[in-house]
Amino acid sequence: MNAIIISAVWGVLMMYAGFFLQSKRSIHLLAIAGICLMIGATAYEFLSGIPFVTIDTKGMLEYTGYGLAFLLIILVSTLVYFILSGNDIHSAGKSASDLYALVFFILTGIAVVAGYRSLLMLFLGIEIVSIPLYVLAGSDKSNLKSNEAALKYFLMGSFSTGLMLMGIALIYGDTGSFYLDAIRAGFGVLTPMKAAGMLLILASMSFKVSAAPFHFWTPDVYDGSPTVFTSFMATIVKSVAFFAFLTLFDHAFGKLHEQWKVLVAIIAVATLLIGNITAVFQQSVKRMLAYSSIAQAGFMMLSIYAINTFAKQGLLLYFAGYSFATLGIFAVLSKMKDHSIDSFNGFAKSNPIIALSLLISLLSLAGIPLTAGFFAKYYMLLAVIREGGMLWLVITAVLCAAVSVYYYFRVIQAMYFKESVQDNSSLFSPYFKWMMFLNAVLIIVLGIHPDLILSLI
């Protein structure tokens, strides 16, 4: 509850800050201050269980430990994002304070999603997240690709929102309520109306998390948007969509798990295969990361399939591990003009610290032990095994993980085993280098002690 209020207020504040604050630095610091404040307030609410202000939402919003832990991870990821990509936000559009404001409004939506107990709030939250994103995707107004990305995202996004509304309407028609608990109570037997409603919601949620076969927008939108916002979309927004997905299917549709889990399994396998196999053929790192984010979504889908304690714990770990690693790679990418794999040649020589941090991030995405990514994947697999049956799902997943090694390691090979043609050593400021390094340390710490996040729940 604290986070909703602070982020909304801070968003407005950031908009007006553009008038008063002239220097980039102060706007950047103001944004970081806002995030830190939100982290503090959310942590307080998480520990004490009492928000600063209590608003009667008629039970439509309810913040449990799990939701707040999720929110904390998202906020910390956003802080990492601001620190690593702050400069790029400034160069992405004319007035950075507006862009920051939009990010804060997105956070408001995220905070709504973190505690929704009614389909209305789910819809509101997702829309509050999506609409500023359409703007961010098109924020590079002079770039045709950015415009294309924004339009594509908007059209596809609103279409999927339409599907979701239709699904919500059908579910409401059958159970007579928007509340998750009431829906759950009415979900004893599968009626055609429920089935249709669930299918529609499943499709629209799959769209939001870019799961196959609803992923077609992802590569173009991710590729066309300014890299700094691609980074935000691919990590934080994706995590939110997954959280909404999990909460809905766990709380509201949990009783019919046996019926829908096959569908989710099929979606997961399709996503894993399409994401990983297509990523192999990409020459641009940005596009490769777009497909990699689809591939990672396939892994996260396993948690929706399983819906048990391991799945819920693991998903939070996955958010953190995946977000930190991806944010780091995107932050480096957005500082480079050329996004091809060859442009990373010789990084180990010219930028040893950046190369090491990228190495750790890439190893984490590939799921190599002692990085956060390993335990994230480990929990997803464990959750599926715990659920029982469908071992083919696990086998497909690990084989896809082995495929993913191929494309992640191509970047590593370029950095460490190839000679560079041009001099890249002046691309990054010392501050950025050390922040990247800290990010990498964070990934390693989570890889050695995943308890740090698991104990939150």
């Binding site: 071992l391 090979q413 698991l454």
Partner: protein
């Protein structure tokens, strides 16, 4: 502090780990080499000291368990029994000799080179000591990553492709193993990864078949067994010499070790079911690899194929389920490491001095390098398993077991011994004797430290060949766990 000294297993992990990390910060190549030698030597020393505390009465010194991920039931469990000790001893000896052998200016960025080597050391020792499946898996990967970088940075021309193939192969194997580990962990009600907890699971036959397959593929890739061996000759050829030495003397033993420590005790029904079929496949592989070795012109590739044959033989020894063959395999794992290290060192010295590894272009080196040729002869004879050499003890016992299991197999696989004599002696003849080649003029004989290294290796070859008993005494505590489900 003193309590820490009591825990030998933990020390054996920490020494190479700290040494490896420290090495990255040493800018001076000479100092990096010295520090690497010191850390490898102290590993060996700790291991030697721990030998005095073996046996049941000292179990608390040699088996430790630290809290790590208590929330998911994984403990950092390590054990130091006879099997582990042999393998750790081999690891420590190989690394120490390699560090002493390779001059500090051989590779650029020497500090990183030694750092990665020591991290590999840490990973290997961890694999050998782990009693917790998750820890085992972590070290299994930890040993792989530094080797990947070592081979890709300092390797030959086609290194990137070759080592990547190696990496992908091993990674596929290890993720399959991870599924099996998770499956069993789930069966313990998500409470433990411990070997003993897995041991008590009573998996049904069908479950064991699947679990066995997942583990076995991972180990077979690592060994490597025919037909999963295709990564090996290429990556041995392309890796820098020290890495090849480590790969072939120690790393491939991870697979055999895994069979002994994890597969044999955990999946008795599956092992019994599959061992006849696997023995057929492996024996074909052994003979095939020996035949291919005969036709190799490159010394490195010849040694690589010879290694596939010898490793296959050891795997067969394990699958016979006969105690004599398994003891033979245990001691042969050590011996093969020593012998092949000697062979690689000779190959390395020849390549370093002449730049040629092609057997047909070499010849008559013995005149210029008589001492080297004597050592080479000893190593080759040990590789052929001549009596009085160490390999004779192991391979004789393995064949004894195979013969008890199936006479036909013994006869067929026995061909590999003949072939091994053919290619090994052919190599010695064509490289060291025969018509003098142009390359022969470039060779100088070994001296100083190199002689000492060879004397140590020769001593190990002959000593174990004549008096292997201390090793068998060491194995007694490991044998029980490996075989007790098969004897009843």
């Amino acid at each position: 502090m003193f309590a820490a000294v009591d825990n030998f297993p933990a020390l054996l992990i920490w020494i190479p780990l700290l040494g490896g990390l420290l090495s990255f910060f040493l800018k001076d190549a000479k100092r990096a080499k010295t520090s690497a030698i010191v850390f490898a030597a102290s590993s060996l020393l700790v291991l030697m000291v721990s030998m005095n505390f073996s046996g049941k009465e000292n179990m608390q010194l040699n088996q430790v368990s630290y809290d790590w991920l208590s929330s998911i039931g994984s403990n950092f469990g390590l054990i130091l029994d006879g099997l582990t000790r042999t393998m750790s001893l081999l690891t420590a000896i190989v690394f120490l000799l390699v560090f002493v052998l390779v001059p500090f200016d051989q590779y650029k960025d020497a500090n990183k080179f030694y750092g990665l080597m020591l991290l590999t050391h840490c990973g290997l020792v961890g694999v050998f000591m782990a009693t917790d499946a998750l820890v085992f898996y972590l070290f299994w990967e930890l040993a792989l990553i530094p080797v990947y970088f070592l081979a890709s940075i300092w390797g030959g021309e086609k290194r990137i492709r070759a080592t990547f193939k190696f990496f992908i192969y091993t990674f596929i194997g290890s993720v399959l193993m991870l599924i099996a580990i998770l499956y069993m962990y789930n069966k313990t009600n998500a409470t433990s990864f411990g070997l003993s907890a897995f041991f008590n699971l009573n998996n049904t036959a069908t479950e064991q078949y699947w679990l066995f397959s997942a583990f076995f593929i991972a180990f077979a890739i690592k060994m490597p067994l025919f037909p999963l061996h295709t990564w090996q000759p290429e990556s041995y050829e392309q890796s820098p010499a020290p890495v090849t030495m480590v790969l072939s003397s120690v790393m491939v033993k991870m697979g055999l070790f895994g069979l002994l420590r994890w597969v044999m005790p955990l999946f008795p029904l599956a092992v019994k079911q599959f061992s006849p079929v696997l023995m057929i496949v492996i024996s074909i592989g052994v003979v095939y690899a020996s035949l291919v070795a005969i036709y190799q012109d490159n010394i490195k590739r010849l040694i690589a194929y010879s290694s596939i044959a010898h490793i296959g033989l050891m795997a067969m020894g394990i699958l016979t389920l006969k105690e004599v063959a398994i003891s033979g395999t245990l001691i042969q794992m050590f011996n093969h490491g020593v012998n092949i290290l000697a062979l690689w060192i000779v190959a390395y010295l020849i390549e370093k001095q002449t730049g040629i590894l092609s057997i047909s272009k070499l010849g008559g080196l013995a005149k210029k390098a008589p001492v080297l040729s004597i050592f080479m002869l000893v190593a080759v004879l040990a590789n052929v398993a001549l009596p009085l050499t160490n390999a004779f003890v192991g391979e004789f016992m393995i064949f004894n077991g195979i013969y008890q299991a199936n006479k036909l197999f013994a006869a067929f696989t026995g061909l590999s011994i003949i072939f091994s004599a053919v290619y090994s002696l052919n190599m010695v003849k064509n490289v060291f004797y025969g018509t003098e080649s142009k390359a022969a003029s470039l060779v100088t004989d070994i001296k100083g430290l190199q002689v000492i290294i060879f004397v140590i290796l020769t001593a190990l070859i002959l000593l174990v060949g004549v008096y292997p008993q201390p090793f068998f005494n060491m194995f007694s505590d490991a044998m029980g766990l490996i075989l007790n489900r098969y004897n009843s």
